[in-house]
C-alpha cells in the first residue's frame, strides 16, 4: 500500500506542476498485468527455481542517484542510431541513453518534487519508469527472471519484476506497479520529434565503458545467456516488439511489421480502441487509448505532433494545444521477443492484416 500511496502523492504533485502527467491519467490506467492468482513459494510469487543470480550480487550494478542532465544542444556524445528512453515529468522531457543505462539499469531521479525511478534491462531491452516517494529508492538486486531485471526497494527490501510490473517478494508482494509512460527511439528520432529536452549526462561519476559494447555482445547471440521459459519461435529471439497491456491483457507489436516512416494506426484490444504511432527507422512504437474512437494524423516538423481536428498532442500524449485532454497511455514497453514470450506465454502478436 505504501507504494500505491506514493504513486498518489507523486501523481498529485505532478498534476499541480502541469498538465503533462495527470493524476487522472494514472488512476484511469488499467491495472498492470498481475497474475490473477498470486501464490507464494518461500515468500516469492514466482517459483524460486526460475530466479537466478546474474553473477555480480546485490548492487553489483550501481544505480544512478539524482544524475545530471545536459540540454540537448550540449549533448555531443550520441550518434544517430543510439537508442534513448524518454519520460516526461512536469512538462520536462528527460532522455536516458541505452548505452549509459546498460551499465546502471536503475536511475533514481526527480524533477522538482516529483521523484521517479527509471529501470532498464539490457538483457531484455525493456524499460519501466515508476513514481516513488521520498523514502524509496531502487537498486539492482542482481537477480534475473527470464533474463529480466529484478529491482528492489532499498527502503522496504521489496523485490519487483520489471516486465511483469509486479512485486514478487516483500511486504508489497503480488501488488502491481503502475508505470509512468516512456517512449523509446533513436537519437535522430528524438531530435526530430521533441523540440526541447535534456539528456542524461555521460559524466555520471562512475568509471564505466559507455560504448555500446555490452548491448552489442548480447545481440550477437542467437539465444539469451540466462535461462528463460517457455521458448516461442514465432519470432526471432532478439526481435524487438512493443508489449502493450490493456486490462492486463498483453499483445506484442513486432517492430519489423511497421513502416520505415512515421505512421499512426488504429487497433483494438479487448474491444478497447488503441492508437499506435510507429516509425521503424527510429525504432519507435508507442500507443494511446483512443477513447473517442477518432482518426488521428501525424505532423512532422520541429516537433512531432499527433493531431485530431484542432487538438495537438506531443509524443507522450500530452495536450499541447486545443481543448481536448491528455491522451492516456496504456502500459507498454519495448522488449526482445524471447522475454515477452517467456513472461507472457502465448502472447498475441499483432497482425496488420487483421485491420483490413
Amino acid at each position: 500500500m505504501r507504494f500505491f500511496y506514493s504513486i498518489l502523492i507523486i501523481g498529485f504533485l505532478v498534476r499541480c506542476g502541469g498538465k503533462d502527467l495527470e493524476f487522472e491519467d494514472i488512476l484511469n490506467t488499467p491495472p498492470a498485468p498481475t497474475d490473477t492468482e498470486c501464490t507464494l513459494t518461500d515468500g516469492w510469487s514466482l517459483p524460486p527455481s526460475e530466479i537466478v543470480g546474474g553473477g555480480i550480487g546485490k548492487e553489483g550494478i550501481p544505480s544512478l542517484e539524482n544524475p545530471d542532465f545536459l540540454h540537448k544542444s550540449a549533448t555531443n556524445f550520441l550518434s544517430g542510431d543510439d537508442l534513448l528512453i524518454g519520460v516526461e515529468i512536469n512538462g520536462q522531457v528527460r532522455l536516458f541513453p541505452h548505452r549509459i543505462m546498460d551499465r546502471h539499469e536503475v536511475a533514481n531521479d526527480q524533477v522538482g518534487a516529483a521523484k521517479y525511478s527509471l529501470t532498464f534491462c539490457p538483457l531484455t531491452g525493456s524499460t519501466v519508469a515508476i513514481s516513488r516517494n521520498d523514502d524509496d529508492s531502487f537498486g539492482v538486486s542482481g537477480l534475473l527472471h527470464n533474463s529480466n531485471l529484478i529491482y528492489y526497494n532499498r527502503a522496504t527490501n521489496n523485490f519487483w519484476s520489471q516486465m511483469k510490473l509486479s512485486s514478487i517478494k516483500g511486504e508489497n508482494v503480488c501488488e502491481s506497479v503502475i508505470p509512468l509512460g516512456t517512449v523509446e527511439m533513436t537519437w535522430e528520432g528524438w531530435q526530430k520529434s521533441v523540440a526541447d529536452f535534456v539528456v542524461l549526462d555521460i559524466n555520471t561519476g562512475f568509471d564505466k565503458d559507455y560504448s555500446d559494447a555490452f548491448s552489442a555482445a548480447i545481440l550477437e547471440h542467437n539465444t539469451p545467456l540466462w535461462p528463460y521459459s517457455p521458448k516461442d519461435n514465432r519470432l526471432k529471439n532478439f526481435e524487438k516488439v512493443y508489449v502493450l497491456f490493456v486490462d492486463g491483457f498483453p499483445k506484442a507489436y513486432p517492430l519489423n511489421l511497421f513502416d520505415e516512416e512515421i505512421k499512426v494506426i488504429r487497433d483494438a484490444i479487448l474491444g478497447k480502441e488503441i492508437i499506435i504511432i510507429s516509425n521503424k527507422k527510429h525504432e519507435l512504437i508507442t500507443a494511446y487509448y483512443n477513447v473517442k474512437g477518432l482518426n488521428y494524423s501525424i505532423r512532422e516538423g520541429a516537433e512531432l505532433m499527433l493531431m485530431q481536428e484542432n487538438n495537438r498532442w506531443n509524443i507522450f500524449g500530452s495536450l499541447v494545444s486545443g481543448a481536448d485532454s491528455n491522451l492516456t497511455k496504456p502500459q507498454g514497453y519495448m522488449a526482445y521477443w524471447f522475454s515477452a514470450a517467456a513472461m507472457f506465454p502465448n502472447i498475441e502478436i499483432y497482425n496488420p492484416h487483421d485491420q483490413d
Binding site: 543470480g53 546485490k58 548492487e59 544505480s63 562512475f206 565503458d209 559494447a213 555482445a217 539465444t223 545467456l225
Partner: protein, 321 residues
C-alpha cells in the same frame, strides 16, 4: 639434508594454485596438483591455506576507479601424494572452499553473499622421465581429472540458488595435463619450470536447463630458489613468475562477456625446513600485469601457507625422512 630439502621444496613450489578471476571467484578448482616426484613408497601430506582477494576491477589492462565490489575466496586443501615407484606417483586434492562476495550500494550500504563447502576433488597421475638419483635435473609428465564433487546448488538467504561462480563446485569434469622440470645448479640454487593446462568440461545442469563451460586455462610457473641457513634451519627464498591465460566461458555454446584474459603474477615465497620431513611455506602471489576481456574483478593478492609432512611407509624403520 640439502638434497632432501631441495626435493621437499619442489613439492611446494610446483603446486599450481590456479588464481581464478572474475567468474570462478578465485576457487582453486584444480589447485595444488602437481607435486614433484618423491622416492618409492613415500606418502606426502600437504595442508594448504589459500586466500585470494579479488578486489581490483579491471577493464582490459586498466584498473577502474571503483571499490564497490570485492570477493574473497578462502580455501583449505588437503593434498595426499603417494609414490608407487621412483617414477610413478599420484596426487589427490580435496578442497574446502569458503567464499564471500561483498558489494557496496548507495549510501555505503554493504551487501554480502557467502557460501562454503567441499569443492571439486582432483586426481593427477604422474610419471618421472628422469632418475633423480642420477641427475640433478628432473622432468615429469602428468595427466588427471577433476570430478564435480562440490555442490552447485547452494542458495542465498532468500532461497535463490547462488550463481555458479559462488558455488564451491563447478559441476564439470575437467582434464589436466601437466609437466614439471627442475634443475639443481648447486646445493643452494635451483631452477624450475612447470605448466598446467586445464581442459574444462561442461556443466550440463546449469540453471536447471543450460550448459556451462568454464574457459580452459593454461598456467606456467618459472622459479628460482636459493637456500640459506637461518638459526640452524635451511630456509629457502624463492621467486616465481606465473603467466596465466584463461579462455572465455560459454553458456549454451555462446561466449559470455567479461570472461577470460591473461595475467602475469610474481610470487615471492619463504620456506622453513623444520626437519627433513616437515616444511612450512609462506607465499604471496601478486599481479604484475593483467589484461581481462571486458570488465572483471581481478586478484590483487593471494596468500598461501603450506605445511607438508612426508613419510616413507616401506623404509626399514618406517620412519619419517
Amino acid at each position: 639434508m640439502i638434497r632432501i630439502s631441495f626435493i621437499l621444496l619442489m613439492l611446494l613450489i610446483s603446486q599450481s594454485v590456479l588464481s581464478q578471476n572474475c567468474c570462478s571467484g578465485g576457487v582453486p578448482i584444480s589447485s595444488n596438483i602437481g607435486v614433484a616426484p618423491a622416492s618409492k613408497n613415500t606418502w606426502q601430506t600437504i595442508l594448504i591455506g589459500d586466500v585470494n582477494f579479488l578486489d581490483q576491477l579491471l577493464r582490459g589492462p586498466n584498473k577502474i576507479n571503483n571499490d564497490s565490489r570485492e570477493r574473497t575466496t578462502a580455501s583449505t586443501l588437503l593434498l595426499l601424494n603417494y609414490s608407487f615407484s621412483n617414477r610413478i606417483s599420484a596426487d589427490l586434492t580435496m578442497p574446502w572452499v569458503s567464499q564471500i562476495r561483498k558489494t557496496e550500494g548507495a549510501n555505503n550500504a554493504i551487501f554480502k553473499e557467502n557460501s562454503s563447502g567441499i569443492g571439486d576433488i582432483s586426481i593427477l597421475l604422474k610419471y618421472q622421465l628422469t632418475d633423480p638419483q642420477l641427475t640433478a635435473s628432473s622432468f615429469s609428465l602428468g595427466a588427471g581429472i577433476k570430478v564435480p564433487s562440490g555442490s552447485t546448488d547452494q542458495q542465498d538467504s532468500d532461497g535463490i540458488t547462488l550463481s555458479l561462480d559462488m558455488q564451491p563446485g563447478t559441476g564439470s569434469i575437467d582434464q589436466f595435463y601437466w609437466f614439471f622440470y627442475s634443475n639443481q645448479f648447486s646445493n643452494k640454487t635451483s631452477l624450475f619450470l612447470s605448466a598446467l593446462f586445464q581442459q574444462t568440461g561442461t556443466f550440463t545442469n546449469y540453471n536447471g536447463s543450460q550448459e556451462y563451460k568454464t574457459g580452459n586455462s593454461l598456467v606456467a610457473r618459472l622459479g628460482l630458489n636459493r637456500n640459506f641457513i637461518v638459526a640452524n634451519y635451511i630456509t629457502t627464498l624463492s621467486m616465481e613468475f606465473i603467466p596465466r591465460k584463461n579462455w572465455a566461458d560459454h553458456v549454451d555454446n555462446q561466449l559470455i562477456p567479461n570472461t577470460g584474459g591473461h595475467w602475469l603474477f610474481i610470487k615471492p615465497a619463504l620456506t622453513f625446513n623444520f626437519s627433513p620431513s616437515v616444511l612450512l611455506n609462506l607465499g604471496a602471489e601478486l599481479p604484475l600485469y593483467a589484461n581481462v576481456d571486458g570488465e572483471q574483478l581481478s586478484s590483487s593478492k593471494r596468500l598461501t601457507i603450506q605445511l607438508i609432512h612426508r613419510v616413507n611407509t616401506k623404509s626399514p624403520l618406517n620412519s619419517e625422512l
